[in-house]
Symmetry: C2
Subunit: 339 residues, 2 copies
């Protein structure tokens, strides 16, 4: 009948220990010394009553949630496991909690964001999980944000952690050209509005240009960074297109898997007939048959770095506005090399 919840509060503990609530609070938060005698009684009372502080009450009083948010576009791609893992490690180390949500930038704008200043102390925003004006809006309100796999909007200083895409892609495609003599290289692009995908496409085009290979729009198909989509598109390409090709560069490893599968099913040998290279270096890429030549993206490090940036932001430390993490070409078998 009474509204009082069954949970034991700080006042119960205070009564049990024979001290004031302030003292309990100070003891718990170590915010001031308490005498040994009192400390012991408090310890006992807490034990006795099985007291657990009420998070919401604490958040309300302190105006901090000790929670940080992570906004992703989806969670089912294997790419996200190390990303979340890296973030989680830092968050846990800092004694914070991690709130995870998925959201698409294009979704109904008027609905309330699952995470934001109302329930987290700061957030990490992945790629195009949030519209630019929403990001700016939050930032303008002083809400700490770190962007990953997405650059800072012009004119704003929102820290961002990205990886080097273009140059590595260019060098890897050049590897296909110079070391394996490939000239007709199919490019499998990702989502149009995702920066990683755009940079990788630029790197691909750059490599062609560097070697005076004319670009052929026929040689670009769209895999959406999704294995199944890439597989389907590749099958369709093999059936419909008369365009011949001798290599495939995919903007992501996940697609590369689908591509290789489609190729093998169609009777091509990888890498003898067709060289294949990807981007990401997923945990599984080394174990594929043939092992996938790719670009290593330090995904867990991206997560870790972004989380650290965010905590620097929260503690008022200086924060690098832009962090560009290096990537590294990983030569394996799928391009044609013997390793």
């Amino acid at each position: 009948m009474t509204r009082r919840s069954s949970s034991v509060t700080i006042r119960d503990v205070a009564r049990e220990a024979g001290v004031s609530v302030a003292t309990i609070s100070r003891y718990i938060n170590q915010s001031a010394r308490v005498s040994d005698d009192v400390a012991e009684r408090i310890e006992l009372a807490i034990e006795e009553l099985n007291y657990v502080p009420h998070a919401a009450a604490r958040h309300l009083a302190t105006q901090r949630t000790r929670v940080i948010g992570l906004l992703l576009t989806n969670m089912h791609n294997d790419f996200f496991a190390p990303l979340v893992s890296g973030i989680e490690a830092v968050v846990q180390h800092q004694g914070y909690n991690l709130l995870v949500a998925t959201h698409r930038a294009d979704s109904h704008l008027d609905i309330q964001l699952p995470i934001g200043s109302h329930n987290t102390d700061g957030m990490i925003v992945f790629a195009d999980s949030l519209r630019e004006d929403d990001i700016i809006g939050l930032h303008r309100n002083g809400f700490p944000i770190v962007l990953i796999h997405r650059s800072t909007p012009d004119g704003y200083e929102i820290p961002s952690v990205t990886i080097e895409n273009k140059d590595a892609t260019c060098r890897l495609v050049e590897h296909l050209i110079t070391d394996h003599g490939r000239k007709r290289i199919l490019f499998v692009r990702g989502p149009a509005n995702q920066e990683d995908s755009q940079w990788r496409e630029l790197g691909y085009l750059q490599a062609l240009e560097n070697h005076d290979i004319p670009r052929d729009p026929q040689l670009i198909i769209c895999g959406e960074f999704e294995r199944e989509v890439a597989y389907r598109e590749m099958v369709k390409f093999l059936e419909d297109s008369q365009t011949d090709f001798d290599a495939v560069f995919t903007g992501d490893d996940d697609s590369a898997i689908g591509i290789v599968n489609a190729l093998v099913e169609a009777g091509y040998r990888v890498p003898e007939d067709i060289s294949v290279a990807g981007f990401d270096d997923l945990r599984l890429s080394a174990f594929l048959t043939p092992p996938l030549t790719t670009v290593n993206a330090p995904t867990e490090l991206v997560g870790r770095t972004a989380a650290e940036q965010l905590f620097d932001l929260l503690t008022g430390k200086d924060v690098d506005p832009i962090i560009l993490l290096p990537t590294e070409i990983v030569i394996r078998r799928s391009c044609g090399c013997f390793v």
Copy 2:
């Protein structure tokens, strides 16, 4: 100087709209009708002031957080992506948020759990991420819990969502025996204290027994459900052991990848020389070369189901104490079949 945060509160909105805070609250929560006139003024005031309700204050007043917790052992294995994805979908659909944390059952017990009754309305506990007495303790306090990949402790009615392990394993191993004539089947087990691993081992042993094949302790190695560990152990086995074998069944697909890799490196052909089969049917398993014969575990469904169970628990609905989701054998190429 003042402690007052810069954020706008419900009282500001009330003043702006010329009504009381109660009315604002009622309007926002749709907990009672307000006249159209008032509704419009409130809407305007909220817009004008850019008001966002303070989550902690709301939680404190309602004694609900609208957050559910997910406790995992780690996050880096690809297995977790669909699991989390499934949970997240339901949680989002219910208008809740998802708090994710990792924890090991064996870690220092006295440290406060990252999630629990203090900051979530309920939680989903994966396998051995939490000690049995901690689970029971929380449950005794009336905290809603759903277990996944772990059965209910004896004598308690904590809902659990698990998958059928033993029978499917048995049948798959029998497939290796009867359809491919394998008799010396290596088993790669997972963590000793994980139930899935235990059941799969029982299924393996059952299959041997059904076909009068003597069990050989030499033919069991430990892969810990980790690709790299399985790889290393397999390499070691190939170097050290004189024991011959003609098939490998691994308790999980992740290990199977490492196993195949070790076998291929050692000059074996899969499946011509050695049949390989796994368990899980990870997204990538179909794309491996050769495609992996395995048992399909409905991992996303496990997540979805567990989340639904938890919400039933939260809303006082009847909850199945035990849900055992069916698994299905998936025959591909790695066992030796032509598909």
